[in-house]
Subunit: 222 residues, 2 copies
Amino acid sequence: MTRILVVDDEPQMLRTLRINLAARRYEVAVAADGASALTQAAEWHPDLVVLDLGLPDMDGVDVIHGLRGWTQTPIVVLSGRAGSQDKIDALDAGADDYVTKPFSIEEFLARIRAVSRRAGTQEAELTPVQIGEHTVDLNRKTVSGELRLTPTEWRILEILLSNPGKLITQRHLLSEVWGSNYVKETHYLRQYMTQLRKKLERDPAHPVHLITEPGMGYRYTP
Amino acid sequence: MTRILVVDDEPQMLRTLRINLAARRYEVAVAADGASALTQAAEWHPDLVVLDLGLPDMDGVDVIHGLRGWTQTPIVVLSGRAGSQDKIDALDAGADDYVTKPFSIEEFLARIRAVSRRAGTQEAELTPVQIGEHTVDLNRKTVSGELRLTPTEWRILEILLSNPGKLITQRHLLSEVWGSNYVKETHYLRQYMTQLRKKLERDPAHPVHLITEPGMGYRYTP
DNA sequence: TCTTCGCGTAAGGATGCCGTCAACATTCGG
DNA sequence: CCGAATGTTGACGGCATCCTTACGCGAAGA
């Protein structure tokens, strides 16, 4: 399910967007100012951000810069200002589309689809993955054999499994799962990797699929 | 250089767009109707298509479908029709953005940049490199044949392989890998070059790809 | 021929990282 | 309000990687 973060300070607009997006089966989170938008995005990792430029605490373009510092998540800007310079600034800062109020909700949804279609090459239905004697289905978040994984375990596994054979640096894992302030806390990873191996590997002491690359990171090998 | 195909039947508009795009160092080709647009696109393989919906010979949405049948090239639609249903149809057919006339040329250019920026992020993959009988993939940090390299080995190899044929001075390697305070410690390099050759070269005593240039530095020759 | 210098190779000790166990804090559902 | 599941933190032994030292070799020059 596509996760959308809606950033707007007008309760009326927030309500309208949330209802319409939820009706289309999007998973929606909201933020009312720039600061909480940035923290929300870092924690929740939305697939798309809808951003109103008229925020109370900071300039909308700065919010775009803040997001683009670490993520390529599509950004659709909403704005009451129709001036072309505003559009140019927002688009060049890294926004993917710019919609001026008032707008048709149907057009807005079509633009959401267009933008996330272009971004969503990864969304192409991941096939279930075999790890030892277990089958992991990332789409349905299920593991064969009465096994249950915790949310954090899923987030780690998701990153590793969707890049088969590729080395994922500790830095990347930590910043994706815990946020960029936790880049040094490598013992988190050690902790959860042992958990995952205990649950998934046939012989947790000699892992075959969840491999450590000393000094660098971890790797899933099929 | 980015290649843009402009499809429009009004000579005035064609002229304006071509001049403005050329001034921004885009390479421009033009087409005046849907049929020639499709053949032009097939022959010329543009990086982006600017498409006016009001063509004389066929419906604009059909042109989009025709393009989307074989290419993912970004499409920016121009249209005089501001109706939201037109936008929805075009976007859902596969267009990436929709601009209504009249429009600011600067805004239009910003949207061109935004769309082609998003399309460009999907590429940028380094191709694996052959060394003797081994294949080295810098992206995934893998070597064919159950071989594993240490972090320092990777950092050295990364510098050498991304400059094929070029001489890399000892000074440069040392300062990149160990820092500028270690510029004199050339024995570090000897140590690690031996290791790399042992792991990668067919005959480590007579290297073919990881070459020493006495007194200067090292070189990777494909 | 002898000397000097830079390079390649080998082996051993030091360091830092990793895996693991265990305790504590926090969250969540009943 | 309580208990269980999850997340966080600390401690410690083992081991891979890195650094260091030592020595042999060959090329260039005196």
